[in-house]
Amino acid sequence: MPVEGPFILVNPERCLGCHTCELACAAAHTEAGTVIGAVLAGERLQPRNHVIQVDSVKISTQCRQCEDAPCVKVCPTGATYRTETYTAVDQRLCIACRLCMMVCPFGAIHMATATVAGRDKRAAFKCDLCVDRPEGPACVEACPTKALSLRYPREVIQQATQVTARQFLEALESQQQLASNP
C-alpha cells in the first residue's frame, strides 16, 4: 500500500493575514534560523509559502505535495522529484526554466536567487514541509492563531466521516423520538 504523505492545511476562518508563517518559513531555511539572525548575517530570506487574499478572505497557500505531481513530470533535469511522501526541488540540478512554475495549479513554485554550494544562482523554491526540521513545519509552529496544521489524508477523511456519521446517527435518533412522541 502506498504511504500517504502529509500536507499543510489552512483554516481560512482563523487566518488573519499577518504573514508570520512566511517569515517563519524563510527563517527556518537559513543557517541562522531567526529573522534577525539572518539579517545580521547577511543571509537571504526566502519564503516557500504565500499569504494571499481572495475577496475578503485571507489565507496562506503552499505546495499541496501532489502525489501525481505535474512539476515532477515536466522537470527536464530531474531537479524536481517526489519521495514516498512529498515533492521537493534539488536546487543543485535546477536550471530555473520555470516549467514547474507554469504547470503548478496552485502557484506554489517561484523562482528566486539561491546560494548553492557557495554560488548564487536562480532556482525554483517550494515548500519542502520542513523535512529537515526536527520540530516539523515552521509555519505551523509559528502561526499565532493556529490557522495552519500538518494533516494526513487518512486522518482528514476519518475526521470527516466521524462527523457526518455522528450527524447521521443523531438524525436517526431524533426521527425515532419524533415517531414515539408524535
Binding site: 499577518c18 504573514h19 508570520t20 512566511e22 517569515l23 517563519a24 524563510a26 527563517a27 529573522v35 534577525i36 539579517v39 545580521l40 537571504r44 530570506l45 526566502q46 519564503p47 517561484h110 528566486a112 536567487t113 509552529e141 509559528a142
Partner: protein, 629 residues
C-alpha cells in the same frame, strides 16, 4: 529545592539565585511571569523585529516585505523601509524622552510648590546645590531666602519645557566643542516639549520622509532628554531630597522580612517614595503595625524609585525590573506601591492571588486590579500616611502558608553622585585623571539599562561588569544594571579583588567599589556631567575620552532615548538586544557606522557580554592611543 534541582528551563531564565528560587516557586504554584508570557509570544512578529511595519495612517497598516524579490517594498503612501524604520525609531525616542522629561517636570512642580510653601511636607535639603544651580541660571542668590531662590529656579526650569528657541541651560554643561557640533548639525534642542512634539509631527503621514533628517530630529529630542528633562529630574531631586553620598545597604529579595509589614515601592519618581519612607517611620504607623502583630514596617525599593531612596537613605532594594512579579510571589508583600514607568500591568492579577495590595498613585497611571490612592504633592505626607496605613492594615490578611522569602541579600555601597565621587577623590578630579593617564584605570565604562527576558536575567549585566573591571575599566552605573551589580556583590570595596591590578589599587586606595552606583535612569545625566567634567579638565571633547557605554539588557523606549543621547554626546555604546531597525539598511548603517563621522560615536549590537566587553575595551584603547596616553 536547591539550584541543582531546578529545571533547565528555570536555570536559563536568570543567574540570580533569589530569582531562580522564586521562579521555581512560581512554577510550583502555577503562577505566570514575564518569562512565560514571552515564551507564549514566540515567535514574535518578524516585521516588528525589523521595524518595517507602519500604522501611522489608516491607509495602512503597511508592512514592507523583507524578501528580496517579493512583496511590497513601499507602503500605500510610498514610504520605503528606510523611512518607516526611521519614523518608528524616533517615535520610540519621543516616548522615552517624554517619560524622562515628564518625570523632570513633576520634580520641578514639586520644587515650585515647596518654594511657595504649598509642598505638603517637602523641604529644600541641599541649599548649596540650589545656589549652584541658581548661579547657572543667573538667578540672584545674595541675601535671599532659599525659598525665594527656589521659586525663581523652579520657574526658570519650568520654562525649559515650553521654550521655543532654546537653549536649554544644562546643555551648556557639555564641552564647548560638543555644543558647537550640535549647533552645526542643527540638533541643539530648542525646548524639551517642542522636540518631542516635532517628532510626532514629522512622523505623521506625508511630512518628513528623509531617514537621515528624521534621525537628526531623534537626536535633538534625545539631547533634550539627557541634558534637559533627565538632568532637571536629577538636579532638582538633589535640591529637594539631598545629593547622595556614599551609604551602605542591601540588595535582593531577601530584604523582605517575614515578621514585618513589607512595603515595596516600585516605579520612578522620588516625590512619592521619599514621603513613604518618612510616613513609615511615623510612630503612629509603627504602633499600628505592632497592634496587628508585626514587628515593624519594612520599606524596600524596586527599580528606579528604589534606586532613588537607596542612594539617599540606604533603603534596601528588593530587585530590578524582572523581579517585580517575584516580589509579589513571596507572599510577604503587604503593598506594592507604584507611580509611573516600568510597572507591569500583570501585577494586578498576580497580586490578586495573594493578600498583596497593588496601590497605584499617579493620575497618569492606573492599573487593572489596583487600589488607586491618588498622590498630590500638596498633601504628600498625609497621602503617604494613608498609603502606609492601607499596607499596615493588610498585614493581618497575610497567609503564612504562602510566605516564601529567599535568603539572598547582598551588602552594597551606593550613593556616588558626581559630588560624592569628587569628594572621594579628595575634592578634585585630578587623582582620577592621573589614574587614567597612568593607565592604572584604562577607561570608564557606563553600563546601564533594563532587564529583558530575551536575555538571561542579570547575565548580560553581571558578566559584562566582571569582564570590564577585570580589564581595569572603572564602571559607573545606574538603573537596573546598578541593581544587578549590587546583588552580585560588585558594589563593595572588597569587589576590587575581582578587578585588574591597576583598578584594584585605585579602589583600595580610595576605599570605593570598582562599580559605582550613580542612581536611577534619569541619573544617567550624572554620567554625562562627569564625562563633561573629565573632558573639560583634559581640554577635549567627550568623544575623545577613553569611555564606552553599554545597555546589555535594555527593553524600554526610555533606553532608546538614552542610547541616542549617549552616542550624541560622543560615547560609543553597545546594545545587548537588537533595536527594531534592521529592516532598513540606511538607518542600520547610519547608526552603526555613519554616525561616527557626524557625532563621533556609534552603536554596536552584541548580546554576548564577553564580546561586548571586548568591543568596549578595544574602543577605549583606541581612544587612549589617539590621546597619546
Amino acid at each position: 529545592m536547591t539550584e541543582e534541582t531546578y529545571s533547565e528551563k528555570i536555570m536559563s531564565r536568570s543567574i540570580d539565585p533569589a530569582a531562580l528560587e522564586m521562579l521555581a516557586r512560581a512554577e510550583e504554584l502555577g503562577f505566570e511571569t514575564a518569562w512565560d508570557r514571552l515564551e507564549a509570544m514566540l515567535p514574535q512578529c518578524g516585521f516588528g523585529e525589523l521595524g518595517i511595519c507602519c500604522r501611522n495612517c489608516n491607509m495602512g497598516p503597511c508592512r514592507i516585505s523583507p524578501f528580496e524579490e517579493e512583496g511590497p517594498k513601499v507602503g500605500v503612501c510610498g514610504a520605503t523601509a528606510d523611512i518607516i524604520v526611521a519614523r518608528n525609531l524616533i517615535r520610540m525616542i519621543a516616548g522615552g524622552a517624554a517619560a524622562h522629561s515628564d518625570h523632570g517636570r513633576d520634580i520641578a512642580h514639586t520644587l515650585l510648590l515647596t518654594a511657595e510653601g504649598k509642598g505638603g511636607g517637602y523641604e529644600i535639603k541641599d541649599e548649596a546645590k540650589l545656589k549652584a544651580l541658581a548661579a547657572e541660571y543667573g538667578i540672584e542668590t545674595e541675601g535671599r531666602s532659599k525659598e525665594e531662590i527656589a521659586l525663581d529656579l523652579a520657574r526658570a526650569v519650568y520654562a525649559e519645557f515650553g521654550k521655543q528657541e532654546g537653549p536649554i541651560q544644562f546643555t551648556r554643561r557639555a564641552p564647548e566643542k560638543r555644543v558647537a557640533l550640535w549647533q552645526k548639525l542643527g540638533v541643539d534642542p530648542r525646548g524639551i516639549d517642542r522636540e518631542i512634539v516635532e517628532i510626532m509631527h514629522r512622523t505623521h503621514i506625508g511630512v518628513d520622509n528623509d531617514p537621515v533628517n528624521l534621525i537628526l530630529q531623534g537626536i535633538r529630542a534625545s539631547i533634550s532628554d539627557g541634558w534637559g528633562g533627565s538632568m532637571i529630574a536629577t538636579e532638582l531631586s538633589d535640591v529637594l531630597f539631598g545629593t547622595p553620598t556614599p551609604i551602605r545597604s542591601r540588595a535582593n529579595l531577601g530584604v523582605l522580612k517575614a515578621d514585618e509589614v513589607n512595603i515595596v515601592m516600585h516605579g520612578h519618581e522620588p516625590t512619592l517614595s521619599e514621603m513613604i519612607v518618612a510616613a513609615a517611620q511615623d510612630p503612629e504607623m509603627i504602633a499600628l503595625a505592632e497592634r496587628y502583630g508585626a514587628k515593624g514596617i519594612n520599606v524596600v525599593g524596586m527599580c528606579c524609585t528604589g534606586n532613588e531612596v537607596l542612594m539617599r537613605h540606604g533603603i534596601p532594594i528588593a530587585g530590578n525590573f524582572l523581579q517585580q512579579e517575584l516580589a509579589v510571589i513571596t507572599g510577604a508583600v503587604e503593598a506594592i506601591i507604584v507611580d509611573v514607568q516600568c510597572i507591569m500591568p500583570a501585577l494586578g492579577a498576580l497580586s490578586g492571588c495573594f493578600h498583596t495590595k497593588l496601590i497605584s498613585t499617579s493620575p497618569k497611571a492606573k492599573f487593572p486590579g489596583a487600589t488607586h490612592i491618588e498622590f498630590h504633592e500638596e498633601h504628600a505626607y498625609d497621602i503617604a500616611k494613608e498609603i502606609v496605613r492601607t499596607a499596615v492594615e493588610n498585614y493581618r490578611f497575610r497567609k503564612p502558608g504562602q510566605v516564601h522569602i529567599p535568603d539572598e541579600k547582598t551588602e552594597c555601597m551606593v550613593g556616588f553622585s558626581v559630588e560624592a565621587i569628587v569628594a572621594a577623590l579628595g575634592g578634585t578630579l585630578d587623582p582620577l585623571l592621573e589614574a587614567i593617564k597612568s593607565g592604572a584605570i584604562r577607561g570608564i565604562g557606563a553600563v546601564v539599562g533594563c532587564n529583558n527576558p530575551k536575555i538571561q536575567h542579570d547575565y548580560g549585566h553581571v558578566r559584562l561588569l566582571e569582564e570590564l573591571i577585570k580589564n581595569d575599566v572603572l564602571i559607573v552605573t545606574t538603573g537596573c544594571n546598578a541593581i544587578a551589580a549590587a546583588k552580585a556583590g560588585l558594589m563593595l570595596p572588597e569587589a576590587a579583588e575581582q578587578a585588574g591590578e591597576g583598578l584594584k589599587g585605585v579602589c583600595q586606595a580610595l576605599g570605593i567599589p570598582p562599580v559605582l552606583h550613580m542612581g536611577s535612569c534619569v541619573d544617567i545625566s550624572r554620567i554625562l556631567v562627569a564625562c563633561a567634567a573629565i573632558a573639560n579638565a583634559l581640554g577635549v571633547d567627550i568623544s575623545d575620552l577613553p569611555a564606552a557605554g553599554a545597555a546589555p539588557e535594555w527593553m524600554s523606549e526610555k533606553a532608546v532615548s538614552i542610547g541616542t543621547y549617549v552616542i550624541s554626546s560622543g560615547v560609543f555604546t553597545v546594545l545587548g538586544t537588537v533595536p527594531p531597525v534592521l529592516g532598513s539598511p540606511v538607518v542600520t548603517e547610519l547608526l552603526t557606522q555613519g554616525a561616527n563621522d557626524v557625532i563621533g560615536a556609534v552603536f554596536a549590537v552584541e548580546p554576548d557580554p564577553f564580546k561586548a566587553a571586548k568591543l568596549m575595551i578595544d574602543h577605549i584603547e583606541e581612544k587612549r592611543a589617539a590621546l597619546g596616553i
